[in-house]
């Protein structure tokens, strides 16, 4: 193990998909010495606990654009990173349960189509054609986008990290940031149990702990982490490739490549916090819902359940870019449960913003921290 560094050009805090992808994009443009600090190990936080879904069917234009550009990047990444990531465009089927919800979906589809997304409204009968075993009893319609899909979160996270390291970045795991040093309004370095690193630029990519990290730089972020549970079943013959989602009935699930069903919900009344323990109510409620939507799953066994953190922002959209008044501080956090699917585009934008302070991008600018003072432009409604 090389000696712990004393200086760096940029410190990325967090070894999840956001930190790894930003480190990769920075080394790709030869930014200089990039050091990644990870409190635990690569992919041990939200990335390694997520459902692996990728979708561009959002209700805000910012999320649609970021997601669509990310899909373009996902298509290139296996070749670029040289690792299989199980990326697959199996589609997303999003279910509507009332006429009111269907009219919201109609608006979403219209906006998404303006951005060039191939998305369509389906009748319950057409939804049943996508997944013949789906119970369409309480469904008034659905939306379908065939270019949505999924990926193995671990594999893409490790692939980004490995390539970043090959391109000159260095990674220190089990290394928590204790404090962040500033001189006036300028970032000057970070303190860890292994030593102090002098550095003019830091990137907060700390997922569920982004608020804690920001507070060390005396920046207050309006983020609320909370536990989000998920389960996986045994492997069975694959009978659908797409994600099935219902906002109204609070569930998402898909059948992963190896045949297991993976799905989750947002627990009613879940309090804020960083606990990731598993609970019994969750598998009971999920079992009822899975059995309702696909009655044929009744005999399939649940193998395991776990939990991760959603780091919610006030409008359920990420907080990106620089912060007025603190030179050298950047963040990409508050993804509200959707960091993996937005990471490929966000990391490209972040690397550009970090290496060129005059860089501007409409989405990056609109998703800055200052939007909460200026007034939020749009609120993301399509979340589970």
């Amino acid at each position: 193990m090389a000696e712990f560094p004393k200086t760096a050009e940029c410190i990325v805090i967090g070894g999840g998909i956001i930190g790894a992808s930003i480190a990769y994009e920075l080394t790709k443009v030869n930014f200089g010495k990039v050091v990644i600090l990870e409190k635990n190990t690569v992919s041990s936080g939200s990335t390694g606990r997520c459902g692996g879904g990728i979708r561009a069917q959002w209700s805000t234009p910012e999320n649609v654009r970021l997601a669509m550009e990310s899909v373009k990047r996902f298509r290139e990444l296996e070749g670029e990173l040289g690792t299989d990531t199980e990326y697959e465009e199996g589609g997303y089927l999003i279910l509507a349960h009332s006429d009111e919800e269907l009219s919201q979906f109609r608006k979403n589809v219209e906006m998404q189509k303006k951005h060039g997304l191939q998305v369509e409204l389906l009748s319950p009968e057409e939804a049943k054609k996508v997944v013949p075993l789906l119970n369409t009893e309480k469904i008034t319609g659905a939306t379908w986008c065939s270019t949505d899909g999924s990926i193995n979160p671990f594999l893409i996270n490790f692939a980004y990290m490995k390539k970043a390291l090959e391109q000159g970045a260095s990674l220190y795991e089990r290394t928590e940031v204790l404090s962040i040093d500033k001189e006036g309004s300028k970032i000057t370095g970070v303190v860890t149990p292994k030593g102090v690193i002098s550095c003019p630029v830091i990137v907060n990519a700390a997922g569920g702990y982004a608020g804690t990290v920001a507070s060390k730089a005396r920046i207050e972020l309006p983020l609320v982490p909370h536990r989000h549970e998920i389960l996986a079943t045994e492997q069975i013959n694959r009978f659908f490739k797409n994600m099935i989602m219902s906002f109204e009935h609070n569930i998402y699930f898909r059948q992963v490549k190896d045949g297991g069903i993976v799905g989750g919900q947002t627990n009613p009344g879940e309090p804020p916090g960083t606990s990731v323990v598993s609970g019994i109510s969750f598998i009971k409620e999920m079992s009822v819902k899975l059995g309702h939507f696909i009655p044929a799953l009744g005999d399939v066994k649940i193998l395991r359940q776990w939990a991760g953190l959603y780091c919610m922002s006030p409008d359920a959209q990420p907080i990106l870019g620089r912060v007025e008044g603190t030179q050298g501080y950047f963040h990409a956090c508050g993804f509200s449960g959707h960091g993996l699917m937005l990471a490929p585009r966000v990391s490209v934008l972040m690397a550009k913003a970090i290496s060129d302070t005059s860089f501007h991008d409409p989405d990056l600018d609109r998703l800055g921290l200052d939007r909460f003072e200026k007034g939020i432009a749009s609120f993301e409604k399509s979340v589970v």
Binding site: F158, H226, A232, D258, G269, S278, G291, D299, K301, R304
Partner: protein
């Protein structure tokens, strides 16, 4: 057909795959191996292969995994059919009436 030593029977992961992953990514704990190779994610939840993975970590790294970094065991203890679990809960309408919750309002 793999003619190699199977370490994780449930997920069909070989010794070679695990050793390669430890070397490729510099892995030091059973959970890291689990994330990269899926060893320990199947029916037995690592009850069979956990000790073997620890031995492979020692073999490659020259040191044992940190005892403070015990692999996480996931519930349920034994795999359970969806309909059996569902039978211990109220019906669908009652469950979804509990709402979205969390921070979504």
């Amino acid at each position: 057909m793999k003619d190699l030593k199977i370490i994780c029977r449930c997920q069909d992961v070989t010794e070679e795959e695990i050793v390669d992953a430890i070397r490729k990514y510099g892995l030091k704990s059973v959970d890291e191996v689990k994330r990269v190779t899926r060893a320990g994610m199947g029916h037995c939840q690592g009850k069979t292969c956990r000790k073997l993975v620890e031995q492979l970590l020692f073999k490659v790294n020259g040191f044992w995994p940190d005892p403070e970094e015990q692999s996480t065991s996931r519930p349920p203890l034994k795999s359970l059919p969806i309909k059996l679990v569902a039978a211990s809960e109220e019906d669908f309408d009652a469950v979804v009436a509990r709402g979205r919750g969390g921070q979504h309002g």
